[in-house]
Symmetry: C2
Subunit: 147 residues, 2 copies
DNA sequence: ATTTCTGCAAATGCTTTGCATTGCA
DNA sequence: TGCAATGCAAAGCATTTGCAGAAAT
């Protein structure tokens, strides 16, 4: 995997320790953290890091396409450095977000879905976002225990 | 179509003018308004109507299943009285939200998609939300004019 | 040297809350 | 009448902004 510094440089944005740190956190996890979670994770190693900087940084990373922003309803905005098209499962109990890779969005696109949407609505479509809402394995267990 | 008052009564919630008004607005439009839009629409006829009441009302209507809440990213929370499963197209320029009915979610469910998600992630899935992001016909024209 | 980023604090804006009053059942 | 909903103002929270100092190119 290309190192974080190189990746940022490729995108022609200034390379700062804060940006490397935020992007590294996102590259190293599959947990789709929100800004607060990123901040908490970084604080021990970067005591001077400001929450506002995390906000500004995810914004920059999003704009250059290094990360994607997920709007998961009550769970707020989450960030994901895995930018290949894929869908997500959201746990309505603990707000956990998992990747779903077995339903590849490319396949849906291949099925002429974008074209179909265009025919119906006149919209030109660039992207799609698919969410599955339900309960993660851990929360299912908890719910069963409480019966 | 059943009248608004009857529908509310069926759901065993208190029938008030404010609730009827909010629900009527949502039944009469396909524009997926947010709270602010609902409020503005009602203000001329209900000058005493408070924004807080609109917030509380959409919450109640959502809980009894009369409307659904759509989380459309930057456009915030939108409300829709059309609760049959369907997907949505979101205009990244003007925030307009259109229904997409030609891609029925039932069909996706029939394709064992929920089962597939469960096999991959362990999540039990109750619902899905599909968004198409792009530009609506009007905004496409505007963009072309400015070239 | 210049431009951009960071960190702080203040400001913003959307949403929620508390509570006295009103209104539905 | 009793309980729930409304409307107002205040509070709450996540996010954004302005700006002086710091850092990257």
């Amino acid at each position: 995997m290309q190192n974080t510094e190189e990746v940022l440089r490729t995108k022609k944005i200034k390379v700062t320790p804060q940006r490397m740190a935020v992007y590294s956190v996102l590259r190293d996890t599959r947990s789709h953290p929100n800004v607060e979670m990123i901040y908490k994770k970084l604080k021990p190693n970067y005591p001077a890091m400001s929450l506002a900087t995390v906000y500004k940084t995810v914004d920059v990373l999003k704009k250059v396409g290094l990360i994607q922003e997920l709007n998961v309803g009550e769970g707020g905005l989450r960030y994901d450095a895995f930018v290949e098209p894929h869908s997500h499962a959201y746990c309505e109990s603990c707000s956990r977000v998992d990747d779903v890779e077995s339903i590849p969005i490319e396949k849906i696109q291949d099925n002429n879905l974008f074209k179909k949407v265009r025919e119906e609505t006149g919209f030109t479509v660039n992207a799609t976002q698919i969410f599955f809402y339900g309960f993660c394995p851990e929360c299912q267990e908890k719910i069963e225990e409480n019966v």
